[in-house]
Amino acid sequence: MDLSLSPSEREFRDEVRTWLEENHPGPEPEAGLDEVMAFRREWQGKLHEAGWAGISWPEEYGGRGATLIEQAIFVGEAARQEAPSPANVLGLAMGGPVVIAHGTDEQKQRYLEPILTSEEIWCQGFSEPESGSDLASLKTKAVKDGDEWVVTGQKVWTTFAQYAKWCMLVARTDPDAPKHQGLTYFLMDMEQPGVQVRPLVQITGEGEFNEIFMEEVRIPDANVVGGVGNGWSVAITTLMNERAGLAFGAISQISNSLKRLNQLASETRLNGGVAAEDPFLRQRLAQLHVEAETMRLNAYRGLTKTMQSGIPGPEGSLGKWQWADINQRIAELALDIEGAYAPLDRGAEHAVANGAWQYAFLRSRANSIEGGTTDILKNIIAERVLGLPRLR
């Protein structure tokens, strides 16, 4: 057991730290999403030039071929310094790895480079209005017509679809096969007639995600990834990659939030003292620090396990569940510390921290839903880690 970084890991950490300090572009623009995306594209360009985009990708595909621990160090350090997100998060974390794992040589040649440069943004077309947690029940259909597929259906909760060139689309190609077997994974060009993107406004008032309507959209057969009928297992790889990649960024992000929460508790006046001295608030604050630490240590334990076995196990679900829970409770405690000021939102003259905690409170409501609901994660843990019988 050794929880410290090895000399070479420390050297890598220092390299990352220095590079980020020297190249950090500052905070994201506060104005609209278009400006934010432009800012992120520019940032990703910088990352790519220095070889930090696609850090987990093999070197032959333009990545860095970093070890898991190096990826964890990079993501953790980037979050610690609050570096902006790259523009093409889904392409880097999911699309690229899927093409690398399941794609043909032609597909690798065609798609990987523009993901790294953020020239082409990717989005994910999995969920449908009738198929959320029960993803395999999805209804969007793809019918073969010559060397093309004709796709009709609807996708929902598609983050950044309005900027995307390519959509990782899972559609039903065999309506008669058992539900997990009749699915195929496509790369759909978003810039064509028949694809309509409609933004959804979320409870924060922003529109990160969208609905996609597809009406007889044509996808060449060459854009099938992993073979017809294998869509489910290809999609699962995508989700595994998503979960494994996010953990260490989430840990640093929680650690930043807790530092701000300490500050808030130490500065907010309450009962003739400060909130940090209130026994009840103080206990809740400490408990969040404790749980955040257990989450961090669990992730390192998981990392060691993954490095030994080669694949991330279902235990990753514990981390996602816990992250959502802690992140929500941090914002809840912040609002409780603000007390009567809790309703004041961004832009209000007397808002605390310019409404940052109000935004965090509202945005974090999605944490236990996005990327696998907490309820479904508990099913996965019960069935796949504990071996309890399936209800279905």
Binding site: M1, L285, E293, T294, L297, R301, L388, P389, R390
Partner: protein
């Protein structure tokens, strides 16, 4: 970065698992629970042969010279097996002696402890106080060359079978007092935990010679205290692991409405919660154990976190397991109550969750209380 047991640590774990499982079947635990001493001398001797009493004591004094990670491995298994044993009390006393004893004291008192030929226990808390660490009332009254102790210590583990005590006094020092010394009287206290003995010990004009007073003041014992917290937190983690396994087994077997109850989400999600808490507890414990061995400056925070978390988990998971078992889990006949009780007693020992969370808050807020950068 490698967060898993090494082969050697894994070997300690499997030896302990096997040894303890063979000795502490339900019937035997209950038999020992009914006995006066609460454990069996022959078991103790076998543990001594395995080197357990001296596991984390320096080789120089006959210990094995292993670390707190190894100690945590052992105590996780002690909890898993619900082993009734004075190993914890003796281990903690040994750590204190190793840390603050003079060479003469170590030779005379620590060496036999490390070999398992003697046992010891801490007598810290005074009757009528809140029994929190560092808040000791019994005075070491100067008398000639030595001191005299008058007072009543409570919550003393395994006092009746310890050969000597380490008695804390209001000046923060510790004194070696033999169980049979003049003026020492011991009364058993009834504990909810049937697998660990608690006593009160009166010290009426007990004389302590200068050779029997340890060096060091209160703060010098904190590193020992934090290590004790890690050991008992490891034990609570083992309790959680075992009762989680019992719940999962039962949920697979027990059928209602024609299905195993583990197929119902009300039950399976409860089990998932138990797993989350158990794994968190384990991570916190080994994180703190590693800090004790390799990064002592971060031990206070890491140990306070581990003890805060494991205190809750060590009884909540058995409690949830009782709920999964339904009525049978509430019976005397079922073992779950024994785990629940040990877990709840552990939670209160060496600082409860509230006390440790308060320390966590002290430590994490120390940074924030600095003047805010403009």
């Amino acid at each position: 970065m490698y967060f898993d047991l090494t082969d050697e640590q894994q070997a300690i774990k499997s030896t302990a698992r096997e040894f303890l499982a063979a000795r502490y079947k339900s019937e035997r635990i209950r038999e020992l629970a009914r006995s006066e001493s609460g454990f069996e001398q022959s078991d103790w001797e076998e543990m001594a042969e395995l080197g357990w009493p001296g596991l984390a004591l320096p080789e120089e004094w006959g210990g094995q010279g292993l670390g707190i990670v190894e100690l945590a491995v052992l105590f996780e298994e002690m909890g898993y097996a619900l082993a009734p044993s004075p190993l914890l009390s003796t281990t903690v006393a040994g750590l204190a002696l190793a840390a603050q004893g003079t060479d003469e004291q170590r030779e005379r008192w620590l060496r036999p402890l490390a070999a398992g030929q003697a046992r010891s226990t801490l007598a810290l808390f005074d009757a009528g106080t809140a029994a929190t660490i560092g808040d000791f009332e019994t005075e070491a009254r100067a008398d000639g060359e030595g001191v005299v102790l008058d007072g009543e210590k409570v919550l003393v583990m395994d006092a009746a079978t310890a050969d000597f005590f380490l008695v804390a006094t209001s000046d923060g020092s510790r004194h070696l007092v033999e169980r049979g010394a003049d003026g020492v009287s011991i009364s058993p206290e009834r504990s909810i935990d049937l697998t660990r003995r608690l006593h009160s010990v009166r010290f009426d004009g007990v004389r302590v010679t200068p050779e029997a007073t340890l060096n060091g003041a209160q703060a010098d014992y904190l590193p020992v205290f934090w290590r004790a917290c890690v050991a008992i937190a490891a034990e609570s983690t083992g309790i959680a692991q075992r009762t989680l396994e019992m719940a999962v087994e039962y949920a697979k077997d027990r059928k209602q409405f024609g299905r195993p109850i583990g197929a119902y989400q009300a039950v399976s999600h409860r089990c998932a919660q138990m797993l989350l808490e158990t794994e968190n507890s384990r991570s916190a414990v080994y994180g703190a154990a590693w800090a004790a061995d390799a990064e002592p400056e971060s031990l206070p925070l890491a140990a306070a976190m581990a003890k805060a978390y494991a205190s809750d988990v060590g009884w909540r998971v058995p409690d949830a397991s009782i709920q999964v078992h339904g009525g049978i889990g509430f019976t005397w006949e079922h073992d779950l109550h024994l785990f629940l009780k040990r877990g709840k007693a552990n939670a209160a020992t060496f600082g409860d969750a509230r006390w440790h969370r308060d320390r966590v808050a002290d430590l994490v807020l120390a940074e924030a209380s600095l003047p805010a950068p403009v």
